[in-house]
Each structure stands twice: as structure tokens, then as C-alpha cells.
């Protein structure tokens, strides 16, 4: 099970998401971005596999979520399921591989400009907690 909540931020939106494992927390974070975009869709369900890499976990979180922002705003998809298959350490840092199911987007209610690097955090102490700021 994975969850998220919005936290107070002066100008934009700060999100905290969590899960038992890194994959759950990153999945919850992506779900937050998708739900806060307010997309609705219809039509056939398609699937895509997304892979991102970064030097550290915070960078991986930002790069992963910016993939979600790009898919929603440029490819105009409505995400119906987000499965983060694997997050692992590699020689040059970390990688994340996820499977996304989506339909065509009919509309969205909010433009999310980007996931920012400011305040991006991944905390590992028992459960995994991630925090990030969305520029809206």
C-alpha cells in the first residue's frame, strides 16, 4: 500500500509520499503527480516501460517524476496504473524501471510545470519517505 499528502509551501506544492520500499514510495510520488494534474481519459489502454538513471536517489526521484510530468503534458496521457518494478544501485548511481498503463487524455485541470530539485529528499528509516516540490 502506498500513500501521499500535500504539505504547505509558500508558492507551489510540496508533496510527501511514502511506502514500505523504495518502489512503493516512488510509485506513490508518481501517483501524486498524476492525480494533482487532474487528468481524465478514455479509450484503449496502452502500456509503456520507463527507465531513468541518476547519480543519487534524490536525483533519481526528480528525474523519474519529471518523466511523469512529460508524459502527462506532452504525450497527453491519462495514467491508469503505475508499477515501479525495480529501483537498484548501479556502478554510476541508481536506476528506476517502471511499467505505466495509460489511455488518451481528455483533459487535465492543472499544469504541473516541473518537479524541482529544491528540497527533494529520500529518507530511509524503516519506511521510505520522499519529499519534493512541484512548480505549478
Amino acid at each position: 500500500m502506498s500513500e501521499y499528502r500535500t504539505l504547505d509551501h509558500a508558492a507551489d506544492l510540496m508533496i510527501e509520499a511514502w511506502g514500505a520500499h523504495l518502489e512503493d514510495a516512488f510509485g506513490a510520488a508518481a501517483k501524486a503527480v498524476a492525480e494533482l494534474s487532474g487528468t481524465q481519459g478514455n479509450g484503449a489502454v496502452n502500456q509503456v516501460v520507463v527507465s531513468v538513471r541518476s547519480a543519487d536517489l534524490e536525483g533519481l526521484l526528480v528525474e523519474w517524476l519529471n518523466e511523469i510530468v512529460y508524459l502527462i503534458s506532452a504525450e497527453e496521457v491519462h495514467l491508469v496504473s503505475i508499477w515501479v518494478n525495480c529501483i537498484q544501485r548501479e556502478d554510476q548511481g541508481w536506476s528506476c524501471r517502471a511499467t505505466l498503463q495509460f489511455t488518451k487524455q481528455l483533459f487535465r485541470t492543472r499544469d504541473i510545470k516541473a518537479v524541482t530539485w529544491h528540497s527533494a529528499r529520500v529518507e530511509i528509516s524503516g519506511k521510505i519517505v520522499v519529499r519534493f516540490v512541484l512548480d505549478v
Binding site: 508558492a11 507551489d12 512529460y70 487524455q105 481528455l106 483533459f107 485541470t109 499544469d111 529544491h118 528540497s119
Partner: protein, 480 residues
Amino acid sequence: MSKQVGPLLQRAPYRYELPETYKKGMRVPGILWVNEAAARLIAEDQSLDQLANVACLPGIVGASHGMPDIHAGYGFPIGGVAAFRTDSGVISPGGVGYDINCGVRLMKTSITVEDVRPHIEELTRRLQRDVPSGLASEGELSLSAADLRDVMVQGAQWAVDRGMGELQDLEFCEDRGAMQAADPNAVSERAVKRGRNQLGTLGSGNHFLEVCYVDSVYDDGLAEAFGLRYHTVCVMVHSGSRGFGHQICTDYVSIMLKAMTKHGIHVPDRQLACAPFDSDEGQKYYSAMACAANFAWANRQVLAHLVRGVMSGLFPGIKVSTVYDVAHNIARVEKHVVEGRPLELIVHRKGATKALGPGNSLLPGAYSRYGQPILVPGDMGRYSYVLAGTVKAQEETFGSTCHGAGRLLSREAAKKSVDGSMLKATLRDKGIFVLGTSNASLAEEAPEAYKDVSEVVSVMVDAGLARKVARLVPIGVVKG
């Protein structure tokens, strides 16, 4: 003796200094242009730390400035101004922000509030109908890759050449609506894809169209020069480079984070990722940023054209002309005199407006004696201001002033304390007809979520960084 407010030292009325000793790594002090009450609030705020972080960046000149509408952003504070030497300083995408050339266009009309008020509901509904928000609804214009490359280079001129505007519009845009540094080869395919259907769309968040009128004139000569007569109806357009600019910033923050190791640069916040201005990464970002800036000018030009169409449909024979169009998220190469020496600087303004004083050679001929019109939107329930630039601003703040009211409440706090439908009713009772995409988005942008812009403007004027020209009061608002 200097008065101390927390870590801030008052050096002059409305000028508070954050000394270099505040944080290890600061290369210059911070300067906040605020009154004492605001200084006390900001002394406790995250924006002060952000102002200090900017002061740590290589090649910064003079000071890291905070305008009176400063509030915490990410990386740079919103309301921040910083200038770096082009020969030894950096350029930072975070110092411009994701919405590159987010800005404001003010148009004046040939009719008065008495003409418009009986039709304000119909006018506002038509504006909402004919001006797309762009939230997956797409604009009227779907650009080919070749068209988009032309937009990136030509800016507002691209739209005017296709019948969407008048040549005079260009005269009254900063940079005549196009930065010369634009190079489409510096723009990613992703940015192209994200921007291809968004030209001529308003966007969401704090973007808006506002029908307003001149309710106060403070300087008859300046107001007459800008064509702002008592009760003249105006339209304000607030929008930017849409997904095109957002993706360019996303791309280049990542590129610069990787490049910083190569250049030996360390920053206190990764959102401040930067590269030397004269490096390959720095030059490519500047070229790509200019493409986004030009996209934004083309966007506001198309939006202005759509507004003109609506106004002409309802008020046949009306004349709608541009007062000015300003960017408030941008970096530009400019020449300034620093400690008596002329320097070429890359001036970053994030939530700040350029402000040229009388006699500046960059001003349109019609305004050269008066200074640049500075457009300062307030909130949808109160008022906005038109100011004029001063020579003092050129000397003290690299020719910069405030850009708006500045947020007081977070979006979450605003949504908790304001009911969007009640807000609409309350504003309607005040004679302001408001339409938005949702009640929640209206609540986020409620008047109480913003500082009183008159206080922000007073600081600018009392500090000598701007002159007050006129006040505009809203009567119809479309929120994106």
C-alpha cells in the same frame, strides 16, 4: 547607526542588508527592498536563506537583491534579482525559473468602464470561450516543426506577420518581442513536442486575463504618455512560455547539474545548478532560453489578438492597443555601471521586472522621456498598478523592480480558508465577474492569498525605484 532586524541591517529607508557573514560562501551581501514590517516577516522566512544562496554563486556582482514582493520559491527566491559578469560569472536556469518569460501585457482600449460594465458578464464569458487555457484542450494553432522554429527565432513578429496583431504591438514589447540570441538547435525534441500545440493558450496556476479600468491617476503627464486616462478600460494578459519553456528549464537544470563537476562549481541548493556563461552549456542554455522567451512573446501576441477579436465582436469600432509587454522571469545580457565602471552582465530576474528610467536608449520612442511602463498585477479582488522606471533603479538594482503582490498564503492554506464559489459571489457583489476552470483553482488565487500590492508599490516608489502612474481595478477576470 544601522538598525538591526534579525540578521538584517537597515542601511537606508527601505534598504536592508543581509551581510556576507550570514552564510559561509556568500560572495556579496543580500539587499532587501522592504519596509520594516516586511523585514521582520522575511527575517523568519526561507526566502532570506534563498537570497543568501544566490549570493554564493560565482561571478555575482554587487548584491543579491530581493524586491518587496519577495517570497520563498525554490533555488532563487521569487522577487530575486542577481547579475553576473559575462566573462567570469554563471548563468542559472533556476534563476529564470520554469516559466521562462512569464510576463504581462497591458492593453488600453478606446472605451470606458461605463461602456463595458453593463456587458461585463458577456464579455468575460466570451473571453473564457475564445481564449483557450491549453489544459489538453490545445490552442487554435497547431504548429509544424518548421513553424515552431520560426516562432523560436521571430517571437511576437511571427504572429504579427500572420495577421495576429499590429506592428505597433512590437514597438511596445520589451526587446520588440524577440531576443536575438535564440538558436533552435539548442532546444530538445521534448521541448518542441511539449510546446507544439500550446501557442495561444493561457495556462493554469496564476495566469489570467483581466478586464480592468483606470480608477486613479497619480501622475497626469506619465499617464497621458502611456494612454491611461481616468476610467479607460484596459485588458491585462498574464502568461508565459507554457510547456515549451518548462521543458527547456527541466532539460538544462539536469545538464548543468552534470556540468558543474567539470567546471568546479558547488552550489548550496541543486536548483541553483549553473554553468559559466561563456561555457558551451551556458551559451546553449542562453540560446534555448531566448527561444522560450520568444515563444512567450508570440504567445502573448496571439492571446492579445484573441482578446481583440472578442472585444471587437462586442464593441464594434473599438481600438485596443498595447501599452507595454514585460517579462518577469528572464536572464539578459545588459550593460550596467558598477562602481564607476561599465560592465557587461547577465542579469537574472525571477519574479522581477526590468525598469528603465527616462532617457534610456532601449525605450520605445514614445516613452523615452518618461521611463518604462512597469506593470504590477495585484490580485483579482483589489487592484493593480502601472509604474514608471527611474534612473535610480538603473543605478541601484540593475534597473529592476517588483513584479506583483507576492503570495501571503500557500496554495493549500488558501484552499483551506477560501471557498471558491463563495469567493465568486463575494467578488460579484463588488462588481467583479470571475470565471475559472474550477472553484479550487480560484480559491488558490483568492485576494487574501496575496499581499496588498499597494504596500509593495509604496516601497518601490518611496525608495525611488519607480514612480506611480495609475491604478487599475478589475471588473472581469478569467483564471487559467
